[in-house]
């Protein structure tokens, strides 16, 4: 995956406020294991992503997304970008 594109940069920017451990964000970063996010953090973050890109990421989709790269791909697909 291209890590220099705009979608990845924006997602990484939105992750930062919740990146309490200062983990380096790459497409392979896992939300649960690496960032150790709980369900409430996921909700807040997903809401921010949805508002930024004007999309809906349903819980059904969220269940399939484990890494930052997978999220970027999903956002790109949903926003038609």
């Amino acid at each position: 995956m291209d890590t220099t594109d705009e979608t990845f940069d924006k997602v990484r920017e939105l992750i930062e406020p919740f990146n309490k451990k200062g983990v380096e964000i790459t497409p392979a970063t896992r939300f649960q294991q690496d960032l150790e996010w709980d369900s409430l953090t996921v909700l807040d973050f997903v809401a921010n992503i949805e508002d930024e890109f004007d999309i809906i990421i349903t819980m059904n989709m969220q269940a399939e997304i484990e890494t930052v790269g997978q999220l970027v791909d999903a956002v790109r697909g949903l926003s038609g970008g």
Partner: protein
């Protein structure tokens, strides 16, 4: 062989750690005798009940008990069948008639539990390509209804009108939309802004379902719930409720004015593929529902109890789930599970039962001592309750 139960090891360990401190298991209490809606014998000790959903105190109402006994004699102990086969007796129809009169609605469908009512109605209404927008703090039965129907699930932040509106506008054009809300959220006892949320849902072409489990009999001029109190009940498409709270027995229901509602009886699997309620249960429910229509005095006393307990606990220095009393539920927020369990046990030793609530049932990982009041709690009992909270709170260092 891989042990399928090993996924529960962290929970088993957490329980063992908690119980090894010698604390009484908060999830294994046995009531040896129940004297009234507000008093039971637990561990040989007379205990005030402040952790039931018996809001209107109907469980020992003489008319309700007599109706149940009579139905046992006349119709036997159970139906042994589905509502759509041999499981619909006169009592089931009478119970649905009582619900239609109580809510002033055209249709009522009785399920065997409130859980099944949400499971059945939500999964049947919203299928794979439909969107369900629900409050993140929704009850487990609502989430399970979403999962059973394979619908697209879109949660929004608790009671956030703008978050709901934004997401409604993003649903693909032409897709079916169901907005699921609760009148009273049972963990913190807070009420939803239904007036605004129902308006937003309707303006965006969604159908609306409101679960009024914790408000029936108590909130609203006729006890129909938060939607009635906020003046939007006519815009709600489906109301879900239960008999296991204010009604005082067990069972669930959906009421609606939708002209095609009756077809649900044939297509709703949690309604079809389970045995119907026993005749004694529907007889007690129907009698209780009709008595709740005239419950204005009890409603007023329950509000008094709720306001007094909220104010008293606040003055003692406890942190509460809401700034003002909004329902019959007052949630005391505990700093952690260990303190919560210690406080729960100290209260039990004082002679008071409350609910210890913990994740995943609670929002934001909170541990709560959840108090639910009853219209049959006397003013003296509320005074006793506050004295017990004061003693237990000091003994455990909570206040």
């Amino acid at each position: 062989m891989s042990d399928l139960l090993s996924k529960f090891d962290p929970l088993i360990e957490q329980r063992e750690t908690l119980l090894s401190t010698g604390v009484t298991d908060p999830f294994n209490l046995v009531m040896e005798k129940v004297e009234s809606p507000t008093v039971a014998i637990c561990n040989g000790r007379r205990t005030i009940l402040l952790g039931t959903y018996n809001y209107m105190g109907m469980t020992f109402d003489p008319d309700v008990v007599a109706a149940g006994k009579n139905a046992l004699d006349e119709f036997g102990s159970g139906t042994t069948g589905s509502r759509v086969l041999n499981g619909t007796y006169a009592g089931h129809k009478a119970c649905e008639d009582a619900l239609k009169d109580f809510y002033g609605m055209d249709h009522a469908m009785v399920f065997s539990t409130g859980y099944q009512a949400n499971l059945g109605i939500i999964s049947t209404l919203a299928g794979k390509d439909d969107y369900i927008l629900l409050d993140i703090d929704s009850h487990a039965s609502i989430y399970d209804g979403c999962a059973l129907g394979n619908a697209q699930i879109v949660p929004f932040r608790h009671n956030d009108i703008e978050a709901l509106e934004k997401r409604l506008k993003r649903v693909p054009e032409g897709a079916g939309k169901l907005v699921v809300l609760e009148g009273v959220y049972s963990m913190l006892g807070d009420v939803a802004p239904l007036k605004e949320m129902v308006a937003v849902a309707k303006a965006n072409g969604a159908m609306v379902l409101v679960d009024e489990a914790h408000s029936m009999g108590f909130i609203g001029e006729h006890g129909r719930g938060v939607a009635e109190a906020q003046g939007v009940i006519d815009d709600v498409d489906f109301i879900i409720g239960t008999f296991s709270k204010s009604v005082g027995t067990v069972g669930g229901f959906c009421v609606s004015n939708h002209p095609k509602f009756e077809i649900m009886r044939l297509v709703c699997r949690p309604y079809v593929f389970t045995a119907s309620l026993p005749p004694s249960v529907v007889a007690t429910a129907a009698t209780s529902i009709r008595k709740l229509m005239d419950g204005a005095d009890k409603r007023a006393h329950l509000w008094e109890n709720s306001k007094r307990l909220h104010e008293g606990l606040r003055q003692l220095g406890f942190t509460l789930g809401t700034d003002q009393p909004q329902s019959a539920i007052i949630a005391v927020i505990m700093p952690d599970l260990e303190t919560g369990a210690a406080m729960w046990e100290a209260l039990l030793k004082e002679g008071l039962y409350v609910n210890l609530a913990r994740p995943p049932a609670t929002p934001a990982g909170m541990t709560l001592l959840r108090c639910s009041l009853c219209a049959e709690h006397s003013s003296e009992q509320v005074g006793e309750i506050l004295a017990m909270f004061s003693a237990a709170g000091r003994a455990t260092g909570c206040i």
